[in-house]
Symmetry: D2
Subunit: 142 residues, 4 copies
């Protein structure tokens, strides 16, 4: 199965990303980009994207990026997530761009940048470093 198709399938099976409307923008070995558009159930009381949504998108993008760097039949699951919030996530959407720094046989480490469209172009609203463990991929429903 091609990387895009596999990521989209996992995405569709995942209640959280499916309900949030997360989309796979691009995927290649060791890298993935996911986006999500603004809607009320993703927001803080001030109307910005909630930190949990920023974190969840970064986490999911990291899992996608690391998994594409692994041999077939392996998947990367998050064991540690570190996020720094740099600017209000106050645009109409979020884009998480994940880049694998290390894809070992036991552990992966992925760096993620999350941007939101601003008046003068994308604004870097968060950076994350995600640590993942390599496990056997469970079989997915057909």
């Amino acid at each position: 199965m091609a990387l895009d198709a596999m990521l989209q399938k996992v995405n569709a099976l995942t209640g959280f990303t499916n309900a949030a409307g997360v989309e796979v923008v691009s995927a290649e070995s060791g890298r993935a980009q996911l986006s999500v558009a603004k809607k009320p159930e993703l927001l803080q009381f001030n109307g910005f994207f909630h930190g949990g949504v920023v974190s969840g998108l970064a986490d999911h993008a990291a899992g996608a990026a690391a998994t594409t760097a692994l041999p077939p039949g392996k998947i990367a699951v998050t064991v540690g997530l570190h996020v720094n919030f740099l600017a209000p996530a106050n645009g109409p959407s979020l884009l998480a761009s994940a880049r694998t720094l290390q894809a070992g046989s036991t552990l992966c480490v992925v760096a993620v940048e999350v941007t939101t469209p601003g008046r003068d172009g994308p604004v870097l609203c968060a950076v994350a470093t995600v640590t993942l463990r390599v496990v056997d991929m469970p079989s997915l429903p057909a």
Copy 2:
């Protein structure tokens, strides 16, 4: 306004926690407990709570705990979030218990434990350390 009432009001105004069904279990100066019950839009493809939900609940509980420790008119907003996932979040609900370690005039640091009910009692499925900045509380709608 009493702490519980204030936290519940903020919660209700917040799309993310409102849609997720997050509830305030307890609140006192420097501490807060929030819970959320399982539903499809909060899950990973394997049926466990998604890491973004665990992280978002921990983040929100930390904000509640820190804010209760601040003088009236101040609120704590997350600038850094660190989560270690220790066990599958595979029970029927999550409980985040947040305890303020530091409540300064500029920064707060809060430790959070997230548990899920297991066969033999609560299972510690994640720990988080959250760094927050103290800002003026925006006025809430009546």
Copy 3:
């Protein structure tokens, strides 16, 4: 070899902790306490313990705590270190108290508190969460 003896041996073989004068205060399964006394080469320009020393002591205490929780022949090596600095490390010594939260076959997670003596008792100057990988213990010189 008893836990104390093993930790003291590793300590003595380690240039960093040996030069710094790190001492094993206590050790039991899953827990360890290490201390270090003030001396010029451990300090920031303001005379407080340097963040690298606080971090290094926390890291080393975490390794000791996790290793004592593992089966014989295994050792835990740090893969991720997260530290929050809460108060100036300005006392005459530092004490790192490490408690293992998870000791799996692949990964361990350890929480560490670092205190320094203050006028009214120990002051919590840093908290750390350390992620470690389990590997085979290398043979030590006799």
Copy 4:
């Protein structure tokens, strides 16, 4: 005082970096590179650089990078340090390259890469994200 001269002065006044032999390799607004050469008191029992040294060098480089991005009279002090160790720090020296992601009036966030020379060029042995608070610079001895 020029940036290089200021960083070198702070470095020389700091017991930890002075004893370790930390050198300022380069400095410009928002960026700094520091290096340190191998010596016994910086090592793990296996002969690699100790995690505390890697962390301390990253921390110090972050402080230097952030401070160069601030207005005169301000200095950045670390409040949070997150390090992922990616490969053994087993070369003859370490180089920490720090890049400021955010330099606000209250907080700074700096990304650091630490490399060690390997057979085929520099090996990325650790990445760090450092959160710093902006404070008034204390006066330095002449």
